[in-house]
């Protein structure tokens, strides 16, 4: 089956080399021909690169076993491969969606596509990292390209402001990650997740064997109280929560999502959340599992705070992008509840919710990007809610799709968002977190308000004049229609999502035993 084990990393190596080639190609053509606008062709080339990457990755797919390569710093298992394929397919859709947006907004740099490819390279390395150093370097690669993508619209002060805020807070959170991992290295002598799992997974169960080792205070203190390890783990945890925009670390995400060009926001909202959650699962479910049991309640407090913030603060938003930003914050709160349960079903629901979040986010943001005003403010990108008024009269089907996907995000039947949300509440009830479930259900109801308000503005607004929108090209509308029907179909038959998440969770927990 394999020539040598390291061939499993061939897709990433291909991506890296093709990025370098794309940079050289773009630079030579554009500089020698007086800055020719090659943005579209480079974008299509990068779509080709990612689809070839997908092809190589599907070729490499393994089913049941996992193995570690490159001195145990990179792990190849089903979770990593599946999430990489999903992220690659989602990013192909992203590329196709943003092409028209970039042309209208006159973002003429071909480096935009190259930056997205760099970010994807970093994300793919996060998905398969087995080592704190690899994870840090991959997070840095992804974050650095996101900082530049956020600041790329040079004539808008909001964009530069968003890039600067994102850069400072992202660098701060990366430094927290580094601090935590350096203390972990100082205590345990290794940065490998596998070695940390062998040392710390069965911490509380190993209480008996160290009871008579009274001379070795180091062992006793680390393995029983684990003060310094919890200290270090809290830093790593906070740093990853920063990247996910969980409250109270969410303040940067509103300004960044609002100010960046919408194509960048599309990327920020949809793609990296899965990768960071995979990293969280690898650290806290597989290496330091018992410690999670110790401070599970603090994670739950953060999750509830996130949901409350996301629900209540979204009520008074008047711009569509801020609204979608707050809704993504609250979604991360629900995911964190599933993360904190610590059970098998909790992990499965976590992956279900994340997959569905990505698909629904893809749908919502594509529709958002496709809405372009026809007259007067052709370039206006930050849509107020009032811009959507009477969308039902000008583009009936689009309004219908938009409202249906919004209701799916809100968690109303008959869309699949209802099923995954109820799954989250079921797993939290299963571990007797009743208060958490009640509070989050109530906040979910409150957040439904601002989704329904958009529906009301689109359909039932009593204004005499609405804004006219450009018609949507047919190849893009096919994508949106397919996603919409996919969401409806998944309600009737959600086996697809449940099957994949069950398989992932099974293969992940199988290696723990």
């Amino acid at each position: 089956m394999l020539i040598f084990k390291e061939i499993q990393l061939l897709p990433e190596i291909f991506l890296g080399i093709s990025i370098i080639y794309l940079i050289i190609h773009g630079t030579f053509i554009s500089v020698n021909n007086k800055y020719l606008l090659i943005q579209n062709s480079v974008l299509y080339l990068s779509v080709l690169i990612i689809s070839l990457f997908c092809f190589l990755l599907i070729n490499n797919t393994i089913e049941c076993n996992d193995f570690q390569i490159f001195n145990n710093t990179i792990i190849i298992d089903y979770l990593g491969s599946f999430s990489k394929i999903l992220i690659a397919i989602v990013s192909i859709f992203c590329f196709l969606m943003i092409q028209r947006y970039l042309t209208v907004q006159k973002i003429n740099y071909f480096e935009y596509s190259v930056l997205i490819l760099f970010a994807l390279l970093g994300i793919f390395f996060i998905c398969s990292s087995n080592d704190l150093i690899t994870a840090y370097l991959a997070i840095e690669l992804q974050s650095l390209s996101f900082y530049i993508m956020a600041a790329l619209k040079k004539d808008s002060a909001f964009s530069v402001d968003a890039g600067l805020k994102y850069f400072i807070l992202g660098a701060f959170s990366s430094s927290l990650f580094l601090f935590g991992s350096s203390i972990l290295y100082g205590v345990s002598g290794t940065t490998n997740f596998e070695d940390l799992k062998n040392l710390f997974f069965w911490v509380y169960s190993s209480y008996d064997c160290t009871q008579d080792a009274s001379d070795y205070t180091f062992v006793k203190d680390v393995f029983i109280n684990g003060g310094l390890i919890q200290f270090a783990l809290s830093f790593i945890f906070v740093s990853l929560l920063f990247k996910l925009a969980i409250a109270p670390f969410h303040l940067w995400s509103i300004d960044v999502y609002e100010g960046s060009p919408s194509s960048s926001t599309f990327f920020f909202a949809v793609v990296p959340k899965l990768a960071i959650f995979i990293l969280l699962v690898r650290i806290f479910y597989s290496s330091f599992f018992e410690y999670t049991a110790k401070w599970r309640y603090y994670i739950v407090i953060l999750a509830v705070l996130t949901i409350v913030v996301g629900s209540f603060a979204g009520l008074e938003q008047k711009k569509l992008k801020s609204l979608l930003a707050y809704s993504s914050i609250s979604h991360m709160g629900y995911t964190l509840i599933a993360f904190s349960t610590g059970t098998f079903e909790g992990l499965q629901m976590l992956f279900c919710y994340l997959f569905l979040y990505m698909i629904a986010g893809l749908c919502i943001w594509s529709i958002f990007l496709m809405l372009q005003l026809k007259y007067k403010y052709v370039k206006k990108q930050n849509k107020d809610l009032a811009d959507l008024s009477s969308l039902s009269k000008s583009n009936n089907i689009l309004a219908l799709f938009f409202s249906t996907v919004l209701l799916s995000i809100a968690g109303l039947p008959p869309m699949v968002g209802f099923l995954v949300k109820i799954g989250i509440f079921l797993v939290s009830i299963e571990v007797s977190m009743y208060f958490v479930s009640i509070v989050s259900i109530l906040c979910s109801v409150i957040s439904t308000f601002y989704y329904i308000r958009i529906v009301k503005i689109m359909f039932f607004e009593n204004s005499t004049a609405g804004k006219l929108y450009q018609p949507i090209k047919s190849h893009i509308s096919i994508v949106i229609v397919c996603l919409f029907y996919f969401l409806l179909f998944l309600f009737i038959n959600p086996t697809l999502i449940y099957l994949f998440s069950y398989k992932i969770t099974l293969l992940l927990t199988m290696t723990m035993m």
Binding site: L9, S30, T73, I133
Partner: protein, 201 residues
């Protein structure tokens, strides 16, 4: 003994200069204190026999990054604001968080590393000599090289990619791509003019 004295001295300089970086009102003083803290941390690394990492600190942090900071700070028109009247507003809450962290570190760190070294118990410390280390040892550069290009190859390539992105990104953000170029001379043509081809009226 002498090594301990050096360590105390450099640590004192490091802590003092990093505090002064935060507290000094003039921005240039902050950057210069930052340079001093880099140099003192590099000296501490020298004491730990990591001379390669220490000199790389100086070459890269002090020689490139802090120069960049210094350039930017010098060219911005930063007025030296007096922070005294604003700092008291945040003093209770900020000091509470800071003292909580400090107490937590001070409680946790010493108790974790209380290992008992059997070779250091008695007052007449009879330590054993590692003879093999004196015969054949790896210098620090050799050990870094042995690990970096074999075991941690992918990490090395990843950091190379990060540096590539860091060179492309600012160029993308800043480069003004204009079609009409400025006029330049071609010095070779200027210097190779001969007497015969000069026109005089």
């Amino acid at each position: 003994m002498i090594v301990n004295l050096f360590f105390y001295f450099f640590s004192f300089v490091l802590i003092t200069s990093s505090l002064m970086t935060v507290f000094s009102q003039n921005s240039i003083y902050s950057v210069l204190f930052l340079v001093l803290s880099f140099v003192s941390s590099s000296s501490i690394l020298f004491l730990l026999e990591c001379e390669y990492v220490s000199l790389i600190f100086i070459i890269i942090y002090v020689g490139a990054i802090a120069v960049l900071f210094l350039f930017v700070v010098m060219m911005l028109d930063i007025k030296t604001i007096s922070l005294v009247k604003d700092s008291l507003k945040y003093f209770p809450f900020g000091s509470f968080i800071g003292i909580a962290f400090l107490i937590e570190i001070l409680l946790v760190v010493p108790s974790t590393f209380e290992a008992i070294n059997p070779y250091n118990i008695s007052f007449l410390c009879n330590f054993h000599l590692d003879w093999f280390n004196k015969l054949d040892y790896f210098t620090e550069i050799m050990s870094v090289g042995h690990l970096l290009y074999t075991d941690y190859l992918i990490q090395f390539l990843l950091s190379g990619n990060i540096l590539l992105l860091a060179t492309i990104g600012p160029v993308t953000l800043v480069l003004i791509r204009s079609i009409k170029t400025t006029k330049k001379q071609i010095t070779f043509k200027q210097l190779s003019r001969t007497y015969n081809s000069v026109l005089y009226i």
